[in-house]
Structure formats: structure tokens, C-alpha cells
Symmetry: C2
Subunit: 172 residues, 2 copies
């Protein structure tokens, strides 16, 4: 559902062909969406069948024709519906990468510290990557900002844990 919303929202701002959309998502929205190429093509076809978007083929040279999509009235209505639904709801994410924390006790304090330091390095790289994302126009930027905030909060949390490991005599 959020994938459809993203595609509709992007096409609404500017008509694009599949390749272009995929490029944009990979390059500019990598921090906010993990939608993969075949998924995007699949959804575009599905939405076209549903009448949410229409395609217009254009040949450039001898390459495969570009299928450029734009919203229909039905597409706009779907967008409005999905947008409202998405904004009003909130399903907190699960944190599967977290699971290990529950069993830190199983390790010696030294090793736990070492592993969490490694984790911290990875997280720092993510923070740097998120900070390097180019600025986007309008509210698209808010996706980026949210991720940046989240990553900083994660770093805070990790640092709290590390501090506890160092100071708490009961651990280990």
C-alpha cells in the first residue's frame, strides 16, 4: 500500500517512465524506501490495469520504448485515499535487528562491548550516509529528516547501553 502511495505521489508531481522512477528511488530515496526494480515495474503494470495511471510509449532511438506514466482521475482519487489512510494510521515497526540485545547476558562483558562497538561503527556509517543525502524539494525532505532523527536516536540508545555495560557491576 505504501509502495503504491509512493509511486502515485511521485508520478503526481511529474510524469516519469519506469526506469526513471527506479533510478530516483534507488539514488535519492534509498534512505526511505527499499522498493526494488521488479516490484516497481509490477506495481506500475497493476496500477495501469486498474486505471490509476495511463502509459504513453515513446521511442528514443532504437532503445526499448519508454513507458511514461501519468495519473488519471481515478489515480488521483486513489492517491488521496491512500494518503489519508497512511497519515492517520500508525503501526510501529518491529525491530528484528534488535533481537540480540535480549540475550546480551549470554556473552562476557568484554565481548558484548566489542560487538556493540562494531554495531556502533556500522550505525555511524548509516548516520553519515543519511546526512549526505541531497536535499529534496518540499515535504519529500521530511522522509529524509525522519530517518536522520531515527538514526541519531538509535545512536543515543546504543551509547546508553555501552555506558551501562561499562559501569554496571552487575552485568557479566
Amino acid at each position: 500500500m505504501h509502495r503504491e502511495l509512493l509511486l502515485l505521489g511521485l508520478l503526481r508531481r511529474k510524469e516519469m517512465h519506469g526506469y526513471e522512477l527506479n533510478e530516483f528511488i534507488q539514488r535519492d530515496l534509498a534512505a526511505c524506501s527499499d522498493m526494488k526494480k521488479p516490484t516497481a515495474y509490477f506495481l506500475l503494470n497493476k496500477m495501469a490495469e486498474q486505471g490509476w495511471i495511463v502509459e504513453e510509449s515513446s521511442q528514443v532511438g532504437n532503445r526499448p520504448p519508454r513507458r511514461t506514466y501519468r495519473l488519471t482521475a481515478a489515480g488521483e482519487a486513489a492517491f488521496q485515499r491512500l494518503l489519508r489512510q497512511n497519515l492517520a494510521a500508525y503501526q510501529p515497526p518491529a525491530f528484528p535487528e534488535d533481537t540480540g540485545l535480549a540475550f546480551l547476558e549470554a556473552l562476557s562483558r568484554a565481548e558484548a562491548q566489542e560487538l556493540l562497538e562494531a554495531r556502533r561503527q556500522v550505525l555511524l556509517e548509516q548516520v553519515a550516509a543519511a546526512a549526505a543525502v541531497p536535499e529534496h524539494p518540499g515535504s519529500l525532505q521530511w522522509l529524509v529528516e525522519h530517518r536522520q532523527r531515527h538514526l541519531r536516536a538509535e545512536l543515543d540508545w546504543l551509547d546508553t547501553l555501552l555506558a551501562r555495560l561499562k559501569s554496571d557491576p552487575l552485568v557479566e
Copy 2:
């Protein structure tokens, strides 16, 4: 992988049968894991085939027999491996529920505000639910704490957005 880790970690602390595990996950870890019943049964069978755990049947009355599982040496080794792998890595989550934020511009300021207020209510309920989770022994509690922190950070972020919507004359 994190699902296997969770099951192994729980069985390592205390042998349990499938029903018991499922109950614990649903009641006590609902905030941290969304693993469903059939998935747990399936993984338990798979891990038993792999020799990570062994089952011991015990009949209680005329009910279906309980299959109580405990770790083998191979299971302990797998646990140690998965734990290290999980702790040292970090894949930041995607935030699909977020997608709508990217297109807030499509709405009037009043409606955006209204929808985000609705979202805030839902989030508040989640915060309350997370705060009400009973305390768990040892590092299991850290999963709960992490979630609580995350939800508070989300609330902060939403409030920042709402404040911007109210003050920024450029929006709308």
C-alpha cells in the same frame, strides 16, 4: 534469522513447549516480536530436524502431547553464531508508515493537521501500551526499553511536524 535467534534464546533460558513459547511471545513480547503461531511451530520443527533442539513428548491427561524443546550442543553453537552476527550488524528499518509525510503538501494545512492529530492519538496509545508492558528479567527488558525510547522519539518528531505546520507560513 532473528526469529530463530529469539526461539533459541528463549529455549536456552528455559525449556518450553510450542504452546508455551507462543503464549510468551504473544503476551509478553508483543511489543518486540510479531512472530505468529504457525511460524513458531514451523521453525521449531525445522530446528529440530537440523538438530539444534530436541523434543521430548509428555502427555498431560488426554490432551495432545506437549513437545518440550531444549537446546543441543549444535543449537547452542548456532545460538552463539546468530547472536554475534545479529549484534555486530545493523540494518536500519524502513519506515513505510511514513510515506504519506512525503506528500503532505497535497493537502490543505487544516486537513494535514487534523490527520496528524489522529496519528498522534494512535501513537499515544502505543506509547501507553509500551509503558504498561510488565518488566522482564535481565536483558530481555532492553527490547522493551528500546521500543519505549523509539516511540517517544516518534512522538517528538510528530510534535515537531505539527509545530511547523502551525507556524510556517509557507506551508499550504
